[in-house]
Subunit: 390 residues, 2 copies
């Protein structure tokens, strides 16, 4: 262990503030990419929680979804308003207990939260890449993460776990580096994006393109394509919820008006679901970059575990060695249970070790961030079992 | 019958070209609207097919969906490339046989295909209304249609039928004018839009707003917000298809490339589903107006048959007199079968005459335009039975 873990969490109780600190790892060599180009001077922003044990056997890599980042748990400062995105599940004494496990999470390349992405400076020109950044694949993201894991002195991960695009990375890890982990937990994901999802991504990017501020990706901090990016996020956000959760959460309630016959017809946001989306869109613009949105969504569009095997998923998975826990959510229509079952079936065909659970939930795709108790218990027990097997 | 039917179809066989002609009816009085404003000098663009019989008892009103128009069947000229939007179902010798029935279809107010809408000249200013056009409701659309039916000398329609937003008009007809028809056929519709649908409409309009050409609705023929309107249409188009139909039609096939490992990663349209959507978006811009898109989608957002009855659908339907044929499609997720069943349940609670069928189809919401054989047979038999009952 090379001393990159600066926070000693052993003396913290779950009640105390749990501090995590962003760190940077600069890849020593240029990173070769699937598109044929190489990426120079790559930085990986990452965070860790817990302590790597003496034989480096308690490391759990968490991979993040489209709009996630390296800040998976804890707070950066004691008065941070918001903790990491999976803080409810990961931390000292939590379901993924950082008193037991050494948790690592890194921002994907192509992203906009510290790792090298389209807004980074191209060393060849001294200017931001913008849309000259090379197209990134999920396998490229994983290739960069592998270098981080090597750098941290970890020969074999206890597990790789993640949801949505994070789940795609999990699957890619199991295929690309079969000897590098005991177990994988792909959650609310699929071995390939459906045409419907590709279509939604296309329209989201078209909405960004329609914003003149986007300007082919050549915008500055003062001229971000806020309107287009907000529209893209709102569209995506609809796909993260279920019809059921939207109906329960908003119904047809109006904003600042009584329902019923008191309609004052209007084109401004009027229904509560509209003002909610508007708020989500605006918040997203504050923390996410439009060009990154192009690169990361395109990575999910192109992701296809069966691309090299002529559509044969069993063949694509024949060399994996990890034990699988595959989790889906009943109301998730972005990554329906059917797609998780395809993975399970292909693993069973190969006589691989696989557990599967569809969690009953009304939250849609967002359930992987919200059903923390049910999901967390499952992950906890599975990790515990994997550790016992070593 | 006031002689407004100019086409004698009696001598045409289905093999011959069936000509229909757009006609205009100017409302004699200003039209009062739900929003409290009145619309002056309203024009209704409509078409008819078949001949009204002596006792005016064979009239069938067809109501159109969001992007539809009055041109429901036949061709305007013998060499017209495309017939009306429901031509496969309606015409001489067809399922809705214009040798028997007098079919009427009119463009909704707020539309952009001949009836008064936001691009019409405001008689008070001599300039186009644009976004100063009053907000239109589905009940307003129906109120205008009622005047057309009166003008045509029809005391009682044999039936009112339509799908999607057309189905909303059908339901509104049954409630607003219970003595005006023998039967109604609401297809692939609901008594109210779900919050998910409202959300999709919101994002579609946001995409139009993000296009600087929209300019608050103040564009000219040379500066239409084509990019935003195309994005809006593409988004809506995804909701008209099913995941199943998209997978079957496009899969993950690439445009002009072999599948598999020959990806050349790209942000231009690459997947076939992307180029298909792009094409649909561009075609839509040629025939539809962005401001109309605002008005008509807003009418569907606000449509709620239960708005006056505190959410009680049975109460909302207690005074209807028409016999109902309610039709849904199994893979329609924009107006799922559940919503049709709500209508059926409310009618049964009131001991109304109602038939219901969910047609098994993989086409999603578009099935109401594509499952012509199954739907048409059902409509034919139901209409025949209604005529027999007179």
């Amino acid at each position: 262990m090379k001393g990159s873990v600066k926070i000693d969490t052993q003396n913290l109780t779950p009640e105390e503030v749990f501090i995590t600190t962003p760190q940077d790892f600069k890849l020593p060599e240029p990173l070769p990419l699937d598109c044929g180009r190489v990426l120079k001077e790559v930085n990986i922003r990452y965070e860790t929680a817990g302590t790597l044990n003496a034989d480096a056997s308690n490391a759990v890599l968490v991979t993040h979804a489209l709009s996630g980042d390296a800040h998976v748990c804890g707070r950066h400062t004691p008065d941070d308003r918001k903790p990491g995105w999976w803080d409810e599940m990961i931390g000292p004494g939590k379901m993924v207990d950082t008193n037991k496990y050494f948790v690592i999470c890194s921002n994907v390349i192509g992203g906009c939260s510290g790792s090298t992405g389209p807004q980074s400076i191209d060393p060849d020109t001294g200017k931001p890449y913008h849309m000259n950044f090379p197209v990134i694949t999920v396998a490229d993201m994983v290739r960069a993460q592998k270098q981080l894991i090597d750098h941290l002195g970890i020969k074999k991960l206890l597990a790789v776990l993640g949801g949505s695009m994070g789940g795609m990375q999990v699957l890619q890890w199991a295929v690309s580096y079969p000897d590098m982990m005991n177990a994988v937990i792909p959650i609310a994901t699929a071995c390939q994006f459906s045409p419907q999802n590709i279509a939604f991504d296309w329209v989201a990017r078209e909405a960004i393109k329609a914003d003149p501020n986007w300007n082919g990706g050549e915008y500055t901090e003062d001229t971000v394509p806020a309107r287009g990016l907000a529209a893209a996020r709102m569209l995506a956000h609809i796909t993260y919820l279920s019809e059921e959760s939207m109906s329960r959460k908003f119904g047809r309630s109006l904003q600042n008006k009584d329902a019923g016959n008191s309609y004052e017809y209007d084109f401004d946001f009027d229904f509560k679901v509209e003002s909610y989306l508007q708020y989500q869109g605006q918040r997203f613009v504050e923390r996410f970059d439009a060009n990154s949105y192009f690169y990361i969504t395109r990575a999910t569009d192109y992701f296809d575990l069966t691309a090299q095997t002529g559509g044969d998923l069993a063949k694509a998975l024949e060399n994996v060695k990890a034990a699988f826990l595959v989790v889906s959510f009943s109301s998730d229509w972005l990554f329906p249970t059917r797609q998780s079952k395809e993975i399970v079936d292909a693993l069973l065909k190969n006589r691989k070790q696989v557990s599967f659970c569809e969690i009953k939930s009304g939250y849609g795709h967002d359930a992987f961030l919200l059903e923390v108790n049910t999901l967390g218990r499952m992950v906890r027990d599975f990790l515990h079992h994997q550790q016992g097997r070593r």
